[in-house]
Amino acid sequence: MAKPELMDYDKAIELFEPVLGFEVHVELNTRSKMFSDAPNPAHPDFHVAEANTQITPVDLGLPGSLPVVNEEAIKYSISLGLALGCSIAPSSRFARKNYFYPDLAKNYQISQFDEPIAFDGNVEVELADGRTFQIPIERAHMEEDAGKLTHVGGATGRIQGAEYSLVDYNRAGVPLVEIVTNIIYGAEGDAPELAKAYVSAIRDIVVSLGISEARMERGNLRCDANISLSPRGSGKLGTRTETKNVNSLRSVERAIRYEIQRQAAILAGGGTIIQETRHWHEDTGRTSAGRPKSDADDYRYFPEPDLLPVEPSTQLIEELRAALPEPPAVRHRRLKESWGFTDLEFQDVVNSGLLVEVEATVTAGASAQQARKWWTGEIARLANAAGEDAATLVSPQQVANLVALIDDGTLTDRLARQVLEGVIAGEGTPAEVVESRGLAVVSDDTALIAAIDDALASQPDVLAKIRDGKVQAAGAVIGAVMKAMRGQADAARVRELVLERANA
C-alpha cells in the first residue's frame, strides 16, 4: 500500500469544513439474547465460552425456528433512547434487512427500519476546554449482532487472501442498539476531539444506565464514523467515507484526523473521494479502502412478519424516565463538588475519558485525589505507551485496592507503581502482586536497624559528622540503607532510626 498524501491538518481545516456523522452500536448486557434464550456473551457472566456453545436453533437460523423479543432489551433500549433525549415511538416495529453474509445466520438481520423505537434526540458533549457542543440524534433502533468470522491462511487474519474462514455464531443475536446521528456541522478544527468526546459521552451514558459493558476493545461499543469535507464557500456537501474498526476512544480521534488530512489532500489535488467504507488500522495509524458503497446496496427491507409491533405504555416510559441517572452536566457538577476538585483537576479527568473509572474507584473506597492521581497519571501514561484505553488495563476495584495499600503504609508510591505493572501484566490483585513480587515496605525495625548499623560502621566519617550535629550528613547513610533494602523501606522511618542509632 503506497503511503497516501496527507495535507497539513490546519491547512485542511482552512480549506474545508469537516462534516461528521456517527453510527454507534451498543451491545446490551441482558442475560439472554435479543431474539432467543441463549446466554448473551455480552453479559459478564457469559463472556468466555467455546465457539458455537451459546446458540439455539434461532441463533443458527435453523429452518422452522422463530424469534421472540427479549422484554428486558426493549426496556434497556427505551432507557437509552430517553437518556439520548429522544422521543419514544408509541409504536415501533422490526424489519428484515436482507443481504447474504456467512456471519449472518438467516442471511437477513432483524433490525428496525422505518419505525425505530427512539428518534429525535440530542447529546451534549464537552470539549477539553470546557466548551459544550450539541450532537443531534436522528434515531436509536434495536437490532441483533452477527456471528464472528476468523480468516485462516493468507495474510495474517485478513479477509483478503485468506484460504477459508471459520464461523462462530455465539455473538449472533446479541442485542444491539444502533445510535445514528444527524449530519453534524460546525465541528471545524475540533472535529477529531468532538468525535472522541461524543463516543465517550455515549459510553458514559450506557455505563451510567448499566445496560452495556461498553468495552470498546471487546466490541461492546462500536463506532462507524462518517466524514466528508465541504470546500469552504461552496455550500456543497462532499462525498463521505465511513470508517469502521475504530475500537478505542483514542483511535476515534486519530481516525477522524487522518481522514480529514487524507480527503483534503485528494480534493486539493483535483481528485474525488470515493463513497466507501474504510478500515482503521491502529498499528499504522491509517485507514484503508474497504467495500464501495453504492445505490446497488438493496437490502429489501420489509416488516418482520415473525415479530409484532412494540407499543410501550406511557406508564412504562415514565417509569423508565423516572429511573434515569442524572444527565452528564448535572452529574459533573455534583462530582466536582463532592470530590473538591479544582476546575483544572476535574477537566483533566473528563478529558482523559476516565470519569467513570475515577468515580468507580472512589466508590470502591479510594480518596478522590488518589483516584484522580493514579488514573490520569501513571495508568494513563502506561495506556498511552501501550496504545490502549486506560480503562482496559486495570479495574477501578484494583486501583482502589492499590490506594488502600499505600494508605496503610504497605506500599510507597514507588512500590505501588511496580505493583501496578504487575497487576496490568495479569499477575493478580495488588495484594497478590505485593506478595509474589515481595514488594511490601519493610516495616520491621530490626531489619532496618541491622542495615543502619552496617552502614554507619562502614562510614565512620559520616557517623562522626552526625554526632557533631551535622544532620544533613545522614543522607548518605539513608541512601545506602534504602539501597540495601531495595527501596522497600519508608525513608522517613529510616531517617528517624539513623539519627537514633548514630546518637545512641
Binding site: D37, N52, V69
Partner: protein
C-alpha cells in the same frame, strides 16, 4: 417490462447462479406473472393502511432468562464442513455490511 439484465441482477441479490437459459425463461415468465399481479397497485388508495400481520397483536416478548443451548454436536451435525467447533466456509470475497 422486465429485462434479462433485471433478472440477472435479482438472481445476484438472491444468490442463485442462474444459467443464461434460465434467465431468459424466467424473464418471460416473470413478465407474465407481474402483468397479472400489477393490478394490486390500482385498488387501494393512500388512506388504506397496510396489513402485515393478519391478526394484530402487540408487545409480544419473553422474560430475559437464558435457557437450554444446542450442544456442539447438535450445532455442527448438519454442517457441510466444520473444524470441530466452527463452521467452515470458502474464502470470502466481499466485506461485511
Amino acid at each position: 417490462m422486465i429485462t434479462t439484465e433485471q433478472v440477472a441482477h435479482l438472481a445476484n441479490l438472491a444468490r442463485i447462479a442462474l444459467t443464461p437459459a434460465e434467465i431468459d425463461k424466467l424473464t418471460g415468465e416473470l413478465g407474465t406473472i407481474v402483468d397479472s399481479i400489477a393490478k394490486v397497485s390500482e385498488v387501494a388508495g393512500p388512506d388504506v393502511p397496510a396489513t402485515s400481520h393478519p391478526i394484530r397483536l402487540v408487545n409480544v416478548s419473553r422474560p430475559d432468562v437464558p435457557g437450554a443451548t444446542l450442544s456442539t454436536e447438535e450445532a455442527l451435525a448438519g454442517a457441510p464442513e466444520h473444524d470441530g467447533a466452527r463452521f467452515k466456509v470458502s474464502a470470502i470475497l466481499g466485506e461485511e455490511q
